[in-house]
């Protein structure tokens, strides 16, 4: 780990101002991802701005009947919130399917969205990795890629985004609210939040340097049956091989987003029109153009089967 300086800020404005002042600064929230990466010198910030005590830790109703989740709301608290459990069960279930109790107590809403990939080559600084070191190559292509992306990848990177929470948020049409150094705020749909790897896999999201996430908003509840099915080799404390987040309405319509298949939570609204025709038809559209590696072609049938199981469960 490189030595770094540290400060704690009290307001979002102070956070972005501090960022502008110091070269190589980074925000730190729960630290459950960033610190691990710093210990391995995968991330080497010169200065940490601790945003974990910002007063962004409440969940408030919005005027249009949705919820505004502060960026610093802990994963545990978000999952346990009565409104979330009642109206956005998908989100609650996705959260508790992730990490462990201790980690969820620390992990924040913003930090969870911004956690980095779990590609093992990304974690080994002896290995080429375009995401970690632009231009160095991608060791996962042609290597151990059982866990990697089957859609949306590029010749430069086949990593997946590991968040469970983000998959539920994508299915729920959540928006990410931010503020930048100039005090300008904007709101980005989760759908547009993650960047395709293309030739620049080191850029995970559309956030500009120093742009601070302040909240995630959920539109008003959509009802239906909420199922988050996470598939993994061990029963707990493992990232998803794939996951299916589904909201299914009584009439058979609904929404489906996938985790573990690409650089972002994978949802294609057009595919949802196929829901009445069943999992095979939906999967065919969702994963059209999929390019699995020599080790992860199993994810294609796995998605289809898991979705079929989820739809059967939703039908009761």
């Amino acid at each position: 780990m490189k030595s770094f300086t540290y400060e704690r800020v009290e307001t979002p404005a102070a956070a972005t101002a501090a960022f502008a002042k110091t070269k190589g600064a980074r925000f730190i929230a729960g630290g459950t991802n960033l610190l691990d990466l710093m210990k391995l010198e995968i991330e080497t910030p010169a200065h940490l701005i601790d945003v974990s005590r910002l007063a962004l830790d409440t969940i408030e109703p919005t005027t249009d009947g949705g919820l505004r989740i502060g960026a610093m709301v802990r994963n545990t608290d978000l999952a346990a919130d009565a409104r979330v459990r009642r109206d956005y069960g998908l989100l609650s279930r996705a959260l508790v399917a992730g990490a462990s109790g201790q980690l969820r107590n620390k992990a924040t809403t913003a930090g969870n969205l911004l956690q980095r990939t779990r590609c093992p080559y990304f974690y080994d600084t002896n290995m080429p990795c375009n995401k970690r070191k632009p231009g160095s190559g991608c060791a996962a292509i042609g290597g151990f890629s059982r866990l990697h992306a089957i859609v949306g990848a590029s010749d430069a990177c086949i990593a997946t985004h590991p968040s469970d929470m983000a998959v539920a948020m994508r299915a729920l049409d959540a928006w990410v609210e931010t503020v930048d150094g100039a005090g300008k705020t904007r709101s980005v749909p989760v759908a547009d939040f993650y960047r395709a790897p293309g030739k620049t896999p080191h850029l995970d999201t559309v956030l500009a340097p120093g742009e601070l996430i302040t909240a995630v908003t959920l539109p008003k509840p959509v009802g239906g049956t909420h199922i988050y099915q996470k598939v993994r080799d061990r029963a707990s404390y493992a990232f998803a091989l794939i996951s299916v987040a589904a909201v299914v309405q009584k009439d058979g319509s609904g929404r489906v987003a996938l985790g573990g298949v690409g650089y972002k939570p994978w949802r294609i609204e057009a595919a949802e029109a196929e829901l009445p025709r069943g999992a095979k038809a939906v999967t065919a559209k969702l994963l059209a153009g999929a390019k699995p590696s020599h080790e992860n072609a199993y994810k294609l049938p796995l998605v289809e089967r898991t979705l079929a199981g989820v739809l059967a469960q939703a039908r009761g």
């Binding site: 780990m1 490189k2 030595s3 210990k39 391995l40 010198e41 779990r118 093992p120 080559y121 974690y123 080994d124 002896n126 290995m127 060791a139 042609g142 290597g143 151990f144 059982r146 099915q229 598939v231 993994r232 080799d233 061990r234 029963a235 707990s236 404390y237 493992a238 990232f239 091989l241 999992a279 199993y298 049938p301 796995l302 089967r305 898991t306 079929a308 199981g309 989820v310 059967a312 469960q313």
Partner: protein, 735 residues
């Protein structure tokens, strides 16, 4: 004392303390964090500096240049050790690859430098500044591709690579029912909680190492050889060990580099192997490819059984002895086994819990299940039909005890085997396909010479000293129980001191020989102490009865402590063994029963019930033994369902080299586990009449899981781990 005739009645048979389910005497220290592990021995030497290990970034080749300038100039750095600065180093007998590499590199993450600094953070930061250029050379990293070049290896610990009885080929060809199948097991990591860690301090030419090590005497000898100094100048101290599983049988880079770092920095140095380095830096259980052929008559009698196994290791390494159990487990007049060894440039393969049997039974016990199915015979019945009470390769040698059939039958009753539907894919519970499986467990018993010293003080307290280790197994407790039984004392009058090379040399912990061997050594020392006590009290040792803290002979009675009133009484002895292990085949047996659910849609496999029935000699402490067995069953479940070191065949290393990537079971994976020990005493093994259970518990578990998956789904998987991707295309379609 020499143990060369079967044991008769002795004080252990009183079973006042031995055989009782006794809490671990070190339990409160462990659960309150007061048992200091190697890295936490802050008090043993003042002024400890921190070492951080730099591992090789390539698997094979040479270091062409190493630039230490930036690292040396970094804040807090005290010294940097490399092969270039360390002076001439030998290599221990038990290591295949050098613990400090360079300029030649033998495997990925082989240690090439230790950076010593005032703080851990400084050492870590400076280590990242070490600049190394390498010249990579081509290596062999894939077992399947190296098979043709595999050779017949020399014998390992007395196990010959080949064996042959009768006419295997002829009998197999003639057999009306045949199985010929190929199985694979992957590389496994010990993945113990406590990393390898050591603190070293020099006092002149005397070196003390506070470390985490299973085999003290072996490791002292190897360290002396490596450093080129006399054994007498080295002291190892390893009282608490946070898991080893064979990964700490031998010295690893931490202990050597701590010693070299302390010398270079001229002050005590502590080193823990960083978790992401451990998997490639230390040893692992090597992958195997196994071919099993079984021929039988239509009524289920095995007429031919053949087992071949291929594994790989670094040049000079050894094979995984995966065929060992097949030489002994089932009857059959015509037999062959063979082990072949390929050179691989992956990290060093070596012992991991039940080396040989664990991966061997992963294959054999699935083959037996497959054969039973071909024959249309219940798999338990098929095993019973082929039971043997003698070594099938040398029928003149009986098993000292062999209750495999009883294990199977007891387990079948308890588990409800009779209710099982033998036809696969027939049982459903909601979204889950449910199935049950069985496998035999088998692990040889080994005895090793073991010595102990016992001291009696005036308060009637007996202190036991032996360099035996407690790797979480309960050695402290069973040794205390042994001394208490022998001396007629309650447990709280016994003090046990372990893991110090200044104490008499014990069997150490490995190969499940520790419990029986180390307590037998304590038995021998206590026999001597009893004699000394009787003599001191003017009693005839043969008449003296030791009970309730008193010694009685005829009408005379004295407090035990009285014997020490003129000064502490000290006795020391070692248990040596005659040829009983040659006359009798001493083995431990068991049966594992498993119920699994396979998710009909996703193919995820979750274990629902586990039962083990073990026959393993006298169980010295049923509570500690149960803990050993359930821990081993958990490890077996891991090897069945998730544990696999992923080999990168281009770069030549294990990719998933941390505990996020190398998955071992978590609580949610393990259901209720039940363990039954059959009543057994084995007078041929030692006066304790005990054997081991710590490794028996893992043997066969994975096969029982695999057989249960087959029963649930009708899908036979011969390649471990059984992950859902291996089932998906064969599972029934989802509506």
């Amino acid at each position: 004392m020499k143990f060369d005739t079967p044991a008769t009645t002795n004080p252990i048979d009183q079973l006042k303390v031995i055989g009782k389910p006794t809490n671990r005497i070190d339990g409160p220290l462990k659960t309150t964090g007061l048992a200091p592990y190697a890295y936490e021995r802050h008090d043993v030497a003042a002024n400890q500096a921190y070492g951080y290990v730099v591992g090789s970034a390539i698997a094979k080749g040479r270091i062409s240049s190493m630039n230490l300038d930036a690292a040396k100039a970094a804040p807090g750095v005290l010294a940097i050790v490399t092969a270039g600065t360390a002076g001439k180093l030998g290599k221990g007998n038990f290591n295949t690859a050098k613990l400090l590499g360079g300029p030649a590199i033998d495997h990925y993450h082989q240690a090439i430098a230790l950076v010593v600094a005032e703080t851990f953070e400084q050492a870590r930061a400076a280590a990242a500044l070490v600049r190394v250029e390498y010249a990579r050379s081509k290596g062999a990293f894939e077992l399947a591709a190296a098979l043709d070049a595999a050779i017949k290896p020399p014998a390992v610990f007395g196990t010959e690579p080949d064996s042959s009885v009768g006419d295997f080929a002829g009998a197999f060809a003639a057999a009306p029912v045949q199985l010929d199948a190929r199985y694979t097991t992957p590389d496994h990591s010990h993945a113990m909680m406590e990393p390898h860690a050591s603190i070293a301090a020099w006092d002149g030419d005397k070196l003390t190492l506070w470390t985490s090590n299973q085999m003290i005497a072996w490791s002292v000898g190897d360290m002396a050889k490596t450093l080129g100094i006399p054994k007498e100048n080295i002291r190892f101290d390893s009282p608490y060990i946070g898991g080893g599983f064979g990964g700490k049988l031998f010295n690893r880079a931490d202990v050597l580099l701590a010693a070299l770092g302390a010398k270079a920095a001229r002050r005590p140095v502590k080193v823990a192997l960083q978790r992401p380095l451990m998997i490639n830096n230390t040893t692992h259980r090597p992958a195997t490819i196994q071919r099993i052929r079984i021929g039988a008559t239509a009524d289920g009698k095995i007429t031919a059984i053949g087992h071949e196994s291929w594994s790989g290791d670094l040049p000079g390494g050894g094979p995984e002895t995966a065929v060992a159990q097949t030489r002994l487990l089932y009857a059959g007049a015509n037999r062959m086994t063979a082990m072949r060894l390929a050179v691989l440039d992956l990290p060093e393969g070596n012992a991991m819990r039940a080396p040989g049997e664990a991966p061997g039974l992963m294959a054999l016990e699935v083959a037996v299940d497959e054969m039973a199915e071909k024959l249309g015979i219940d798999p338990i019945q098929f095993r019973v039909i082929n039971d043997t009470q003698v070594d099938p390769e040398k029928p003149s040698r009986p098993f000292s005890q062999r209750q495999l059939n009883e294990c199977l039958k007891t387990g079948a009753d308890k588990f409800g085997w009779a209710r099982r539907n033998a036809k696969p894919g027939m049982t459903r519970d909601g979204q889950w396909l449910v199935g049950t499986g069985v496998a035999a467990a088998f692990r040889n018993n080994m005895n090793a010479p073991s010595a102990a010293r016992v001291r009696l003080d005036t308060a009637g307290v007996v202190t036991v000293e032996t360099d035996m280790t407690d790797i979480g197994t309960g050695s402290y407790t069973i040794i205390a129980q042994t001394a208490a039984e022998m001396m007629g004392l309650p447990l709280d009058k016994i003090v046990v001191k372990l893991g110090d090379s200044a104490f008499p040399v014990s069997a150490g912990s490995g190969g499940q020989w520790g419990a029986n061997s180390s307590t037998a050594g304590v038995y021998a020392a206590c026999v001597k102490l009893r004699e000394a006590v009787a003599q001191k009290l003017g009693m005839n040792p043969l008449d003296a009865v030791f009970a309730g803290g008193k010694v009685k002979a005829g009408r005379r009675s004295a407090a035990l402590g009285d014997a020490a009133k003129d000064g502490e009484l000290v006795a020391e002895d070692k248990m040596d063994y005659g040829d009983l292990a040659e006359k009798y085949q001493q083995s431990t047996f068991g049966a594992h029963f498993v119920e699994v659910g396979v998710h009909a849609a996703t193919g995820e496999i979750r274990i629902r019930r586990m039962l083990a029935v073990c026959a393993a000699g006298r169980i010295l402490n049923p509570k500690a033994a149960r803990s050993q067995v359930i821990g081993a069953m958990t490890m077996g479940a891991g090897s069945a369902l998730m544990e696999e070191l992923a080999v990168d065949k281009r770069f030549g290393f294990f990719v998933n080299h941390d505990l996020a990537g190398y998955e071992v079971p978590v609580h949610a994976d393990i259901p209720h586990q039940e363990v039954i020990f059959l009543d057994e005493t084995d007078p041929t093994t030692s006066p304790m009449k005990a054997k081991g259970v710590g490794e028996l518990g893992i043997c066969g578990v994975a096969a029982a899981v695999a057989n249960a998956v087959y029963n649930a789904t009708g899908i036979r998987t011969r390649n471990y781990p059984i992950t859902l991707d291996k089932l998906l295309d064969k599972l029934p379609a989802i509506a």
